[in-house]
Subunit: 325 residues, 2 copies
C-alpha cells in the first residue's frame, strides 16, 4: 500500500521516544506545543547528516536513525543540558516503508534512553539526509560553553577518541585487520555514545567544553579560539583503546586520535587539581588529562605547533574529507 | 579565500534576523541558549525545502532564503503563535560565498519583519536544501489547531490561494501569458506572505486552522479529518485574484485555487456569524468564506465529492507532483 507523506509521518515518525507530560501537542499539527519548565534556559541545536558525507551509503537504517539523534544529544552533552524534545526532518529518495520502520526503531531506542521525545516530523523527497533539532534545559547561567578556559586549566577528554574514525575507515575498506579486532571500532562509529551524563556532572566544574565532532585538535582549536587562549598537548597521555592499538600502527592511531571526530566524546577544561577521575566514575566514562591551557594562542603537541592537517578536522567543504587513513 | 564550514557559519549565518534580548547565547557554540517567557507554551515546527522538489533549480538565492523561513513562519501563523527563534541547517554542494550572502540576505529581511532571530546554524556538503526549525510562543490553551471544527462552522480562507501554483507554472514554462499578467503570480510563489498577524487575531475565535501548504482541498481534508467532520465548499465563492483571472482559463484557475498550495494562506473555521471581514481588516488581509463544515466525513464541492486528484495536493512521494498545469 502506498502511503502519503502525511500518512508516512503519522505512521513512522509520531510517538517516537519518551512519552513526556510536558508535551501539549505532538506530531500531527502545524507545530508542536510544549511546556518549558519555569526558570530554566532552553538549549537548542540542529544538525544534518547526509548520506555519503556523514555516513557511508550502506549504513543500516537503524544506524542512520541512531546517529541522527546521537550527534544532537552530543550537543546537549557539550552544553551540560538535559535533552527533552526533538524535531526530525527527513529527506529520502522514495518512500521506503521498511527503511523508515528501521530508521525509526534506531532513533526510538536512543531517544527513550535519554528521556527525549520526537515532537515534530517532516518528510521530503530528495537525497537521503536527516536534520534533527534538539531542545533541552539547563539552569540559568550553568551551561557549559566553549569560552571560559583559563591559562593553566587542565584539558581532559572522555573515552577513547579516534575509534570511530578508525571504524569508518574499516567500513570503507581503508583499514584492514581481523574482524574481531575491527568490530569494536566499527561499533563506535555505528553507535557513538553521547556523553549526556558527563555534561550534567561537569556543570559548575568545567571552565569550557566542546564535543569532538570534527577532530580533537580541530575542536580544541575552537575551544581555545572562543576562550582566547592556547593549548599544549602531551601526546604520551593520549588515550588509545585496546582495539585501536590492535588494529592500527602507532602513526595512524595517533592521527585518528588527534583528528578523528565521529566518537562525540567531550573535550573540556577544569581548574588544575579538579578530581576528574571521580567525576568520570559518577558519569560512567573514563576521563584522561591530555594537556594544559596556555596563554599563547596556538595548539601545540609536545611543544611543537600542531600540524595544520590535524587542525582542519573534518571539513565538509574541503574537498576530500581530511580523515586520516 | 576559502573559508571552513565553521567560518562560513560565523560569516553568513550568525546575527541573522532580529537581535532579541531573550537570547543568552546565539550561533557559534554547540547549542544556543534561550530564555522562554514564563507561562507561555512553546510552539515549534521544522520544514525542509529541497531544490528541484520544493523550488525550481534556478530560483534566486534570496528567494530560497526567504522561502525557507516563510514556510516555517506560516506554521506559526497556523497555530496562532508569535515566532521568536529559528535554527537553520543548510546543505549545499559547494561553499559558494556569494550564493550564501544572498541567501542570508533574503532570510534576514523576512526574519526582521517578524521579530525572529536565527539562533543556530549548521552547514553540510550535499544537494541544495534548507531545513529550518522555528520556535514561537502562544498563551497556554490558546493555540489554533486542526482539530476543533464543528458542524455548521463557516470555512474561511485568507488571500487568493492558487496564485503561487500558477506562478510556479509560469516559472517552469507550464503557463504562458504576457509578463505583466504573470509577474504578480510569480511574485506570490517567490515571496509568499506568512499570515502571522492573522493567526494572532484568530486566537480564541477560530475553531480550527491550518495553513494551505499542500493545496486547499488537501489541507481542508486534514483539518476535517483532525476535527472528525466534513466540509461543503461553494465554488462560486472561491477567491480568484485579478492576475489569476487574467492569466489562466477558468478550468485551470479553479484547479490552482483548489489544489495549489505554495501561497501559505490560512484556512480556518469559525462559528457562524463571526465578523471575519473585520478580523481580516485588522490583520491586513482579505478573508473569504468558501463553505461550511458538515457532519458527514467528506469534502464536497457544490454538493459533489471533491475529485480525488484535488485532495492529494502536493505529495512529494507521489511521483510526478500533482500540481495542476
Amino acid at each position: 500500500m502506498s502511503l502519503s507523506e502525511f500518512e508516512l509521518i503519522e505512521t513512522f515518525l509520531s510517538r517516537l521516544g519518551e512519552q513526556r507530560d510536558d508535551i501539549v501537542l505532538g506530531v500531527g499539527d502545524d507545530a508542536a506545543l510544549l511546556r518549558p519548565p519555569p526558570g530554566l534556559e532552553l538549549a537548542c541545536a540542529a544538525d544534518t547528516i547526509v548520506e555519503g558525507v556523514h555516513f557511508p551509503v550502506d549504513l543500516s537504517a537503524e544506524d542512520v536513525g541512531y546517529r541522527a539523534l546521537a550527534v544532537n544529544l552530543s550537543d546537549m552533552a557539550a552544553m551540560g543540558a538535559e535533552p527533552a524534545w526533538a524535531l526530525l526532518a527527513l529527506t529520502m529518495p522514495r518512500a521506503d516503508q521498511e527503511w523508515l520502520r528501521r530508521f525509526a526503531h534506531g532513533l526510538h531506542a536512543l531517544a527513550r534512553e535519554h528521556g527525549t521525545a520526537v515532537v515534530g516530523g517532516d518528510m521530503s523527497a530528495g537525497p537521503l539526509s536527516a536534520t534533527l533539532t534538539i531542545l533541552g534545559f539547563v539552569p540559568a547561567g550553568q551551561a557549559l560553553r566553549r569560552a571560559g578556559a583559563r591559562t593553566d586549566d587542565e584539558i581532559w577528554v572522555s573515552g577513547t577518541p579516534g575509534d570511530a574514525a578508525a571504524g569508518l575507515a574499516a567500513l570503507t575498506g581503508a583499514l584492514e585487520a581481523p574482524p574481531g579486532v575491527i568490530a569494536p571500532l566499527i561499533e563506535r562509529f555505528r553507535r557513538p555514545r553521547p556523553r549526556v551524563a558527563l555534561g550534567l556532572v561537569l556543570r559548575g566544574i568545567a571552565s569550557a567544553c566542546i564535543d569532538v565532532s570534527d577532530g580533537l585538535v580541530a575542536d580544541l582549536g575552537k575551544l581555545c579560539s572562543a576562550s582566547r587562549v592556547g593549548a599544549s598537548l602531551d601526546s604520551t597521555c593520549l588515550p588509545f583503546s585496546a582495539a585501536m592499538r590492535g588494529a592500527a600502527d602507532p602513526v595512524k592511531a595517533r592521527r585518528w586520535v588527534l583528528a578523528g571526530g565521529d566518537d562525540y566524546e567531550l573535550l573540556f577544561t577544569v581548574p588544575a587539581g579538579t578530581d576528574c577521575v571521580s567525576l568520570g566514575r559518577s558519569a560512567g566514562v573514563d576521563l584522561t588529562q591530555i594537556g594544559v591551557i596556555e596563554s599563547r594562542a596556538s595548539v601545540r603537541i609536545d611543544g611543537e605547533p600542531a600540524a595544520a592537517e590535524l587542525g582542519h578536522g573534518f571539513d565538509h567543504f574541503a574537498g576530500t574529507p581530511r580523515r586520516p587513513g
